[in-house]
Symmetry: C2
């Protein structure tokens, strides 16, 4: 059952002792959405906590600055920015699967796992929907709530670069800026900071980047040894997958990452009209039209050879 | 004399046979502003051309797509995004110094070289001001005008990352998106594309990056040999100066670039509260509080040693 932000607000106004769940490997949108809503509901006098399955990167700590965990007997469980119960992560899934009353989400792939779902698939971020929910709750925005919403929107749009950015995205960002969102610090932390290890990994990746199909396909490889040498991990370096596609003239950029036991994961990024999901489907993977992924067992040489063949066909 | 966007529109409504001047080494804001205004004025039936002192990077060609140079006897000369006549570039300066009737600008350093100036120093881009001028002219925006305004705003804010971004910036970007600005292609060209040479230069720069003052100062060096090996130039790689400051924990990032005849130029980028202009002043340079520059003659070792001493004092 798909409901509107106004209906979400009407339901939440009646509830108390609420737990808000975020998705595993929590990012700026799931956290920003959860914390904006938590702050609004607490302002109404309700008891609310949020839960995450995995540790949260310390750069997000400002989102819950000044907040403490509350004690209460949980009466209502909801999820933000979660498309399926799988994405809760193992622990939260074990605890909450089948028990989630309400979901707010923007992934078109949402499978309506919750009893009620507010799904807006053309929203750039779940935080955009949460903005309207808070408006309908009638809670006045403070600077911290504005920073939470801005975080969700800016991180899910790559700071307004990605194709999901709409006029509404800009509009809400402007309103958050007016309401005191600390956009300067947030942008610096989210988009202007890299660790030395990340830069070193980038350097090593650039060193081995290879070009095929008349320079229209760029392939970079990241081995486990490279993570080890630079003190980085696949998780924190997700942004690095966008680098091969950035090269002028390249239509398909592939970043192949070594995993345990001789398995490989490839992140495929394409420029229109090339379909990344279609390419990955031939390896049993999938994803979005310009960003998809797949896995492979075997040697790197075999994986590359098959990729070059598949992409050659796609580009011809 | 400082006038308002409305007064600019009132003046332009009375004029015809107009030349719009852009600044030397033209960027997205001076070009986007000029072309949006040119398109609006031509829609009103006026004859208008724009002039640039230097060649324009081909990535900007979409701004004047479908337009041709017009023949007319010039009656009115104006400038956009130009703070002083020096910034016209040699040829345009020689031709137009002292003859510019009207300037639209957002640089607080504007020296009111024009007979009338519409200066809004808190505007993120000249294109923001041009947006209001066109509104007051009463010309309906088309998709191409919207793309011109969006180009000026997005390039001068680093795609909404920089501190000059205001609520109004987001608001106008949202309106442009609604009016059909091709934000997806523009973002891809402006923010998601690098040449192989640029990436190779980045890699070489990362290779030699050095850290001082308990890792709070990062210094990168780019030699003329590195430009030669990668087929790049200082001009096109200006963005590279922001990389040393991006490193987590770094408060001052310096990119030292070799110029001709044993001279060096340093681009200094700082995080608040460190003052980049103050650091550069000690080398006879200057600039903004978080981005400044200076020059040096002598050996690289001497330059570095003095920098480390100056920054050590600033950070203590």
């Amino acid at each position: 059952m798909n409901i509107t932000p106004k209906q979400v607000a009407e339901i939440l106004a009646q509830k108390d002792n609420i737990t808000i769940l975020t998705h595993f490997h929590p990012d700026g949108d799931t956290l920003g959405s959860a914390l904006a809503l938590l702050r609004a509901l607490r302002k109404m006098g309700k008891k609310v906590n949020f839960l995450n399955n995995d540790p949260v990167h310390p750069k997000y700590a400002y989102l819950w600055e000044g907040l403490k965990k509350q004690s209460f007997k949980e009466e209502f469980v909801m999820a933000v920015d979660i498309a399926t119960e799988e994405l809760l992560g193992d622990e939260l899934k074990q605890q909450y699967a089948g028990k989630i009353e309400l979901a707010i989400d923007h992934h078109p792939s949402n499978d309506f796992f919750a009893k009620k779902t507010c799904l807006e698939g053309d929203s750039a971020a779940a935080a955009e929907i949460v903005y309207y929910v808070i408006k309908y709750l009638g809670v006045e925005f403070d600077e911290k709530m504005a920073s939470c919403i801005y975080t969700g929107i800016s991180t899910d749009t790559g700071c307004f670069r990605f194709r999901n950015t709409t006029a509404r995205t800009f509009y809400i960002a402007g309103v958050m800026k007016d309401l005191g969102a600390d956009t300067e610090s947030i942008n610096e932390v989210m988009f202007e900071t890299k660790t030395r290890g990340e830069l070193e990994l980038e350097r090593k990746m650039l060193e081995n980047m290879e070009y095929y199909v008349h320079n229209r396909l760029a392939i970079a490889v990241i081995t486990r040894e490279m993570y080890r040498q630079t003190g980085t991990s696949e998780d924190e370096c997700e942004y690095i997958s966008s680098i091969p596609r950035q090269v002028e003239g390249v239509a398909v950029g592939i970043t192949i990452k070594e995993r345990k036991n001789g398995t490989w994961k490839a992140s495929v990024r394409t420029k229109p009209p090339i379909d990344a999901a279609k390419i990955c489907k031939q390896f049993g993977g999938g994803g979005h039209v310009n960003a998809a992924g797949c896995r492979f067992e075997g040697t790197l040489a075999q994986f590359k050879e098959k990729f070059v063949a598949v992409v050659t066909q796609e580009l011809s």
